[in-house]
């Protein structure tokens, strides 16, 4: 069983310091032969993973070819989205299949939500220390 990897919260607005700290994790996304390095917001409040439009384009996705519609909510309720599956790698862990709602919106970060990032990884937040830890899910036999 691999050890958990530890990551630091990222202060997205230096003028606000710790008040703007969010759990962003560096990850590698792969679709066919295309690879993109991204930073994903580990968001336990999100029902699903979300991929911004430009990141999808960098991965070689073609909007017209993606026909499975996904309905979003919140700030993204007005944005069209399509279901796509890419390979995602966090740290030194083995790659996993990640399903994303690929949205037309570019104002959104890469969001890593309950389906299916939190189904693939066990995550502990230690906000008071501005760190969080991630490790792959344990197989059912363990």
């Amino acid at each position: 069983m691999p050890e958990a990897e530890r990551f630091a919260y990222v202060e997205v607005d230096p003028s606000l310091g710790a008040a703007s700290a969010l759990p962003y994790v560096p990850l590698r996304l792969e679709y066919r032969q295309n690879v993109v390095s991204a930073s994903g917001l580990v968001d336990s409040g999100a029902a699903l993973n979300v991929l911004p439009y430009d990141v999808g384009l960098q991965l070689g996705l073609v909007w017209q070819e993606q026909t499975r519609v996904v309905r979003l909510s919140g700030n993204l309720a007005d944005s069209e989205a399509r279901a796509i599956i890419v390979t995602g790698t966090v740290g030194q862990f083995a790659p996993v299949r990640l399903a994303f709602a690929w949205t037309r919106n570019n104002q959104v970060p890469v969001i890593l939500g309950q389906v299916n990032f939190f189904m693939e990884f066990d995550i502990c937040f230690f906000r008071s220390r501005s760190i969080f830890e991630i490790k792959p899910k344990e197989s059912k036999g363990n």
């Binding site: 029902a47 979300v50 399903a99 970060p109």
Partner: protein, 70 residues
């Protein structure tokens, strides 16, 4: 550790250290207040699709179909 635990130690500090402690605490509290006030002046977008369960179910179906096809 509670304040009552700390108090005897603090009271035993020399005057200069007590003044320094007051300055440190005041700066610390001011920083916290400033962070809250800054947030109050800003529009903070909440992107989380927190109740997009229908969309989440779609992704799960797609994952299942992909697993079956691969």
């Amino acid at each position: 550790m509670s304040l009552s635990d700390l108090l005897p130690t603090i009271q035993a500090l020399p005057r200069s250290d007590k003044l320094r402690l007051i300055q440190l605490l005041a700066a610390d509290m001011a920083r916290e207040e400033r962070a809250v006030a800054d947030l109050a002046d800003k529009t903070v977008p909440i992107w989380s699709p927190h109740d997009a369960f229908e969309g989440a179910a779609t992704l799960l179906r797609v994952l299942e179909q992909d697993r079956g096809g691969s």
